[in-house]
Amino acid sequence: MGLSLTASNISKSYNGKVVLTDCSYSFNTSGIYILMGPNGSGKSTFLRICALLEEPDCGEVKFFSETTQSLTRGGGLKKDISLKRRITLLLPKIGIFNTNVFNNVAYGLKIRGMRSIEVEDKIHKALELVGLTDKKNQNALSLSSGETQRLGIARALVIEPDVLFLDEPTASLDPRSTTIIEETILNIKKDNRLTIIMVTHNIFQAKRLADRVLFMYDGRIVDHGLNKDFFEKPKDERAYRFITGQMVY
C-alpha cells in the first residue's frame, strides 16, 4: 500500500450554508471506496477536501505513508506540493488543454520535471490502458465526451498516484463509455497499490465497483461498510431507502 488517509471531524460551510458536519473516516487499505448519497449530501465537497483541493472550515486530513509516517499538511494548501503530487483528483468536467492527446497526458510528468523522451513509455502505457493510443496526435479538444473522460483517467494514472479521487467520472456518459471507464477502473484496481475514492450516485455502479461504501446524507457519513454488507444489510434507514429506490430527493 502506498498511502492511506484519515479525515477527522471535517466540517464545511458555503455562505452560511452547512455542507459538511463532523465527517470522519479512515481510508486504510487499498481498493475502491465509493462515496454515495443523494444530491446535495456533501459527497463532492468531502472528496475535494480529502483531495486537498479545498480547505475544511474545521477538522483535518492526514496522509500516512507505508512507514506510518504522518504526512500531515503544514501551512495550508500552497505549501504541500510534494504530498499533493502523490494524489490526484479527476473532476466531473475534465479540463482539457488545447494541445494533442499525448501532450495532455504528458502534462503531469512534465511539471514534475521529466523530459519528453523519458515520459514516452509511460504515456503509451496509459493511453493503451484507456484505449486512446490511435488518437495520441489528435487535438484533445476534438475528442468525444467518453474519450475525454478516458483521457482524464490516463492523465491521472500516468503520474502514478497513491490515491486516485474520482468525482462522478461517468455522470454524463452513454452506457458503452460508462462500461469502458468502469473496466478501466477495475483494471487499475488489479495493481493493488492504488487507493481509489470515487463519488457516484449510481447504485448499480457502486455495486459493481466498490470494495467499501460510504453513504452520506445531509453532510454526514451516516453509514459505511464492505460492499456486500452495505447493500445486503444497510445499518442506516436512509441508506436502506436510498439503495431500494424509496428515497425521494
Binding site: 483531495a51 499533493k84 490526484t88 473532476l91 475534465i94 479540463g95 482539457i96 502534462y107 479538444l141 476534438s142
Partner: protein, 233 residues
Amino acid sequence: MESIIEGFRRAFLLIFNLDAELLGIIFLSLKVSGLALIIATVIGLLVGAHMSFRQFPLKGMIISIMNTFMGLPPVVVGLFLYLILSRSGPLGFMSLLYTPSAMVTAQSILAFPIVVSLCHSAILSVDPIIKQSSRTLGATPFQVTTTIMKEARYGIMSGVIAAFGRVMAEVGAILIVGGNIAGYTRVMTTTIALETDKGNFELALALGIILLTISLVINLGLHLVQRKGTVRR
C-alpha cells in the same frame, strides 16, 4: 486617370527595382514598430497577467482605462510626448525629440493598452476548470499561472498582432515626435503623407502598396492564429 495609372506604374517600378530610399524607409518602419511592439508586449503581458491573476485596489478602473486607451488618438499621444520630450519639458535633457527612440516610445504607448486589454481578456476567457485540473495534477501556483497563459496563447497572439497592425498604420504620433527627417526618422506612413502633399505620388503609392501588403499579411496571420485556437468537435 492617366496620372493615377502612371503613378502606379512608377510605384511598381520602384518596388521591383528595390529602390534604396524605399528600402531604407521600409526597414526603419519595421525597426521602429517592431521595437515598439517588443517593448509593449513584454510590459503589456506582465501587466495583463497581473490584472488577470491578482486582486488589487482600483483594478476595475484600471481595466476600464486600458480598454478606453485602446482607441487613443495618436496625435494626442504625439502631442503629450512632444511636451514631455521638448527642451522645456521634464525629459528635455535626454534630447530624444526627433529621434527614432521618441518614435518607438510613442508607438509603445499606443500598442501597450491593446496588448494589456487583449491579454487580460484572453486569460479571462480560459475555462476556470483548467486552473483546477492543473492543480489536481500537481502543478505549483507558478505552473498553474504558466499553464493558463499557455492556454490563452492564441488570444494573446491575436492581441500582439492587432497591436502591430495599429502601430504600423499609425502616422500622427510619429510625425509629431519624429519630425519626418529624411533618412533618419522618415517612415512609411509619414513619407506617404509628405509625398502626397508634394504631389509626388509614385513613392507614396509604392509605400501605400507595401503598407497594404503588410496589413494583409498581419490580418492573414491574425486569421490563422484565431483559426488555430478554435478546435471544433
